[in-house]
């Protein structure tokens, strides 16, 4: 029956190919949208894991994707640092982060405002490939931390005052993506010394670090606070590096109790889960749209199989005259639909790989992950969809009276 099904498909190659292509497009849509969502989330989560800390303190009830502003006063940091047990403070360091936005590499990037002195905690084992992980901003930050004098009150003095702090550190992936050169219209990689407009100020790229650090773009925390909060010591979130002998789960519970309902304390390792939760609604929408695309594709197969049954009514009569049972005819219909689906899945996976490559070229900062489980899901969808879409046409074919089928034109 499978060889007969294959012969039937090959007998009308164009229709079979179009059907397989329709399935393939649905599979591609599903793979790329799922691969993009999971890939991007996994990539961000993985980068967050590079921070040398065990806990994250986030605003309560906040979606961690869209966490902006700075709800946490510095008091939180000091409170955490004061937590002790019989051996001393439970936290070795509390690392404030101030989130902002910057347009670089052709898209919006999350700007990580970090204390230059704490940059090594973000770098971990990753190297500085060029320049420095902040230069004059280190002294600027120290000066601001120790500041007691009033701020300059005229524009020129203000610009001069801020200049040392207007530094950026970017990762190598963003460097390679680069900026659009207005003269040539081509993308050129970022270089040390390039200026980038952030929040109305010209920041200078002073360092390029290995890809994999928590953020793609870092700026001095103190600079961002000066610009956005007039120097107020607030933060968007904290990483907490615990003493090595401290149990992170117990510490998280203790800090959560300490900070009350305004904050939530999570294990850094759960950041990926939190990201997925934050993306839940977007994911639901993407799943719904790719699911809808798949349904349309399988309706296309159903229509194709139904047309095949109508067109081949006489052939069904011939097969029945030869003693083919209803079950055999159903199996033939299912076999044909399965073959179309499997070829469609193959086309879909091929197109998804192509889309992944194209996205990598056009939007290098996007990550599409086509995992084994996702590809297996595509194959499963192909099998289930193929069977389901063939059942009704197969049932119709099976029910045909042989003599009536043979007399059809």
């Amino acid at each position: 029956m499978v060889s007969l099904a294959w012969s039937n498909l090959m007998h009308n190659k164009l229709r079979s190919l179009l059907s397989a292509l329709a399935v393939g497009l649905g599979i591609t849509l599903m793979l790329v949208s799922k691969g993009l969502a999971t890939g991007s989330i996994a990539e961000v989560a993985q980068r967050m894991q590079s921070v040398d800390a065990e806990l994250v303190v986030l605003p309560a009830q906040d979606n961690i994707i869209f966490t902006n502003g700075a709800p946490f006063p510095d008091l939180i940091r000091r409170l955490i640092l004061k937590q002790k047990d019989e051996r001393g403070p439970i936290a070795e360091s509390v690392i404030p982060v101030f989130f902002g936005q910057v347009s670089m590499g052709g898209q919006q990037q999350r700007l990580f405002g970090v204390d230059p002195a704490q940059m090594p905690l973000f770098l971990g084992h990753r190297r500085v490939l060029a320049g420095k992980a902040f230069d004059r901003a280190r002294a600027f930050a120290r000066e601001i931390e120790a500041r007691g004098e009033p701020l300059p009150d005229d524009a020129d003095a203000w610009q001069a005052y801020m200049a040392p702090g207007l530094e950026l550190v970017i990762d190598d992936r963003l460097r390679r993506v680069g900026r659009l050169d207005p003269e040539t219209g081509q993308r050129v990689p970022y270089r040390l010394g390039d200026r980038v407009r952030v929040m109305g100020y010209d920041f200078r790229i002073v360092g390029i670090v290995e890809t994999g650090v928590a953020g793609r773009v870092f700026a001095p925390l103190q600079t961002m606070r000066e610009i956005v909060l007039a120097g107020e010591k607030k933060s968007s979130m904290f990483f907490v590096k615990l003493r090595p002998d401290i149990d992170p789960v117990a510490a998280a519970d203790r800090l959560a109790a300490l900070l009350g309902s305004g904050a939530r304390v999570e294990l850094k390792s759960t950041y990926g889960t939190l990201l997925r939760q934050s993306f839940a609604q977007v994911n639901m929408y993407m799943n719904a749209s790719s699911g809808l695309a798949l349904v349309v594709c399988f309706l296309f197969i159903l229509l194709t199989m139904y047309t095949v049954v109508i067109e081949r009514t006489r052939e069904i009569g011939i097969l029945k005259s030869l003693g083919v049972t209803r079950f055999n005819l159903l199996a033939l219909s299912v076999s044909e639909a399965l073959l179309i689906s499997m070829v469609g899945v193959g086309i879909g996976i091929g197109l998804a790989l192509l889309a992944k490559y194209v996205l990598h070229v056009v939007r290098p900062l996007l990550t599409v992950t086509l995992s084994g489980s996702l590809l297996s899901l595509a194959v499963l969808i192909g099998i289930v969809g193929g069977v389901l879409s063939a059942l009704y046409p197969g049932y119709r074919a099976a029910r045909l009276d042989p003599a009536t089928a043979l007399s059809s034109e």
Partner: protein, 223 residues
């Protein structure tokens, strides 16, 4: 006397088109012995094909007292059992050949064996050779002449050595030369394999080689 291959009593059939009823067979009785070559003759629309379809288990009669084919009571069989009986005991030759266009002549001939789940050895090629089509075994029906297609159809009907061959105007679409060739082949296999053959035609010239000729008119046997 051995059991008849076909034993029919009181077969009636009425077609229903919308609300209109059109009776085509009226209380027919028929016995055909194993190995007999019977021709049913009659004008178009007299009910020959309907009778053949009923005897070939391709459609149930509207009413029948007895319908036995190959010694089995066909009235009590469900759809799957009727399909099995067709598969193992009956071979069809149609006026319009009814070959599957997507597969080669060889595969068309092999199809009954594959449906039975039997091995396809050399018998398909040797049968194609006997009907003079060995050279065309790999061709699809669309690449063959009408005479060649009917010879492929004949080979397909005979390949499983069914005990009953039903031929519905097998030469109706052929020129005289091809018609004679097909009839000669049918007669040759009948003499050699002693299958029961029930052939319908409206051409008296084709009935010459039959053991018995039954005439039909308006859904009834005339003799």
């Amino acid at each position: 006397m051995s059991d008849p291959m076909i034993h029919v009593r009181g077969v009636c059939h009425t077609y229903r088109h919308g609300g209109v009823q059109e009776p085509v067979l009226h209380d027919l009785d028929l016995d055909i012995a194993p190995g007999e070559f019977v021709v049913i003759m009659g004008p178009s629309g007299c009910g020959k094909t309907t009778l053949l379809n009923i005897v070939g288990l391709m459609m149930p009669p509207s009413r029948a007292e007895v319908l036995r084919v190959g010694g089995r009571d066909a009235l009590g069989l469900d759809d799957a059992a009727r399909a099995r009986l067709r598969r193992h005991a009956i071979g069809f030759v149609f006026q319009r050949f009814n070959l599957l266009p997507a597969i080669s002549a060889r595969e068309n001939v092999a199809l009954p064996l594959r449906i039975r789940g039997e091995r396809v050895d050399g018998q398909v090629d040797s049968l194609l050779e006997r009907v003079g089509l060995a050279r065309y075994a790999g061709k699809k029906p669309g690449q063959l002449s009408v005479g060649q297609q009917q010879r492929v159809a004949l080979a397909r009907a005979l390949v499983g050595r069914p005990s009953l061959v039903l031929a519905d105007e097998p030469t109706g679409n052929l020129d005289s030369e091809n018609a004679e060739a097909v009839l000669a082949l049918l007669g040759e296999f009948h003499r050699e394999w002693h299958q029961t053959i029930l052939m319908i035609t409206h051409n008296p010239a084709l009935a010459a080689g039959a053991d018995r000729v039954i005439r039909m008119q308006d859904g009834r046997f005339c003799d």
